[in-house]
Symmetry: C2
Subunit: 195 residues, 2 copies
């Protein structure tokens, strides 16, 4: 969420979040943001070094959580990795659905920016985990479709509560993911998903 900071800095951030979710990052000009806040474009650039810095500050909380999920996935394999990836990503997507909607479709271009240097690798690892680290095309395809689809879609259900959306998405992922047929190399430390 956009932190509710009083003052111009927070107002700019909030306005940018609103505009970005409607017209996208590229489709929103600094002029647009300034107009909504009621200040000049120069004021926006006084509070933020440039447009990219504005986006980076907006996305920082979501990126932190994504990095945390990546850490938790390290070393996990098979069904355990699948379950952690599913729960972690669904939770992240629901909590930060507005922030994710900002990136709608502009992910590839935005990933080139320095502030988002490692996101691509993290999301690749996330996709691999969701596929149970399987090389089967079906597993890879399902994982990518789910990640992309959830990212794309979760911003469109503003009328659904976080809890409802989370449980619906988690149900969907568990049903859609290709099960890992290979037995777990190590017993899962967390609770099994069907016991």
């Amino acid at each position: 969420m956009v932190r509710a900071v009083p003052g111009t800095h927070g107002e700019i951030l909030a306005a940018a979040a609103r505009q970005f979710t409607v017209t996208g990052y590229r489709g929103t000009s600094l002029q647009d943001i300034a107009r909504e806040v009621g200040c000049s474009k120069a004021t926006v650039l006084y509070h933020f070094a440039n447009k990219e810095a504005l986006l980076a500050e907006l996305m920082a909380p979501a990126i932190d959580v994504l990095r945390d999920l990546d850490d938790r996935l390290a070393g996990l394999t098979g069904a355990a990795a699948q379950e952690v990836a599913a729960q972690g990503f669904v939770d992240l997507a629901v909590r930060f659905r507005r922030e994710i909607a900002v990136l709608r479709g502009e992910f590839p271009e935005l990933l080139c920016q320095p502030a988002f240097a490692h996101i691509q690798q993290i999301s690749d690892r996330l996709r691999d985990a969701l596929a149970g680290h399987s090389e089967r095309p079906g597993a890879r395809i399902a994982a990518l479709v789910l990640l992309a689809g959830i990212s794309e879609a979760c911003g469109e259900f503003a009328d659904i509560t976080d809890d409802d959306l989370r449980s619906a998405l988690l149900t969907l992922v568990r049903r859609a993911v290709e099960p890992v047929d290979a037995p777990l190399p190590q017993p899962p430390t967390t609770e099994d998903k069907d016991s």
Copy 2:
């Protein structure tokens, strides 16, 4: 330097398709396209009324198939609609994966253009059909995630054949879609694309 080739129109179209898939519609300038073709920007605008017309001609075949699918869905309900929607959309997504990749993320903005006026309604009906015309949030969410995810992802599997991608996606959709509890009113009499 200037090649009086009668195929310039097609060359421009092909170059535009390549550029759009790499950098998107908005991210590709007429200058970029002209440079790849080896002509001037004015030549591009001699063959196409404007940038939008270029995109429209590029997308026309895919849109025709989408419209055809929409016609076939008219009147169908429940599981029959689900199955036709699933097969039809997966087939469309695979066959036109390059064209769909062009729209990557720019769908909302592009839908505002006159050439794509009815696409939004068609895709809404497609989503409803895939949800089995159910009002349950879970069904609506699953349908949207699948449609968005397939659209987003199908362009990224250039190394997978059409047949393999199609069967993998169809398996995924059938597994992921919420089943309609109402019995089939009729066995699916799916007559495929008529020639």
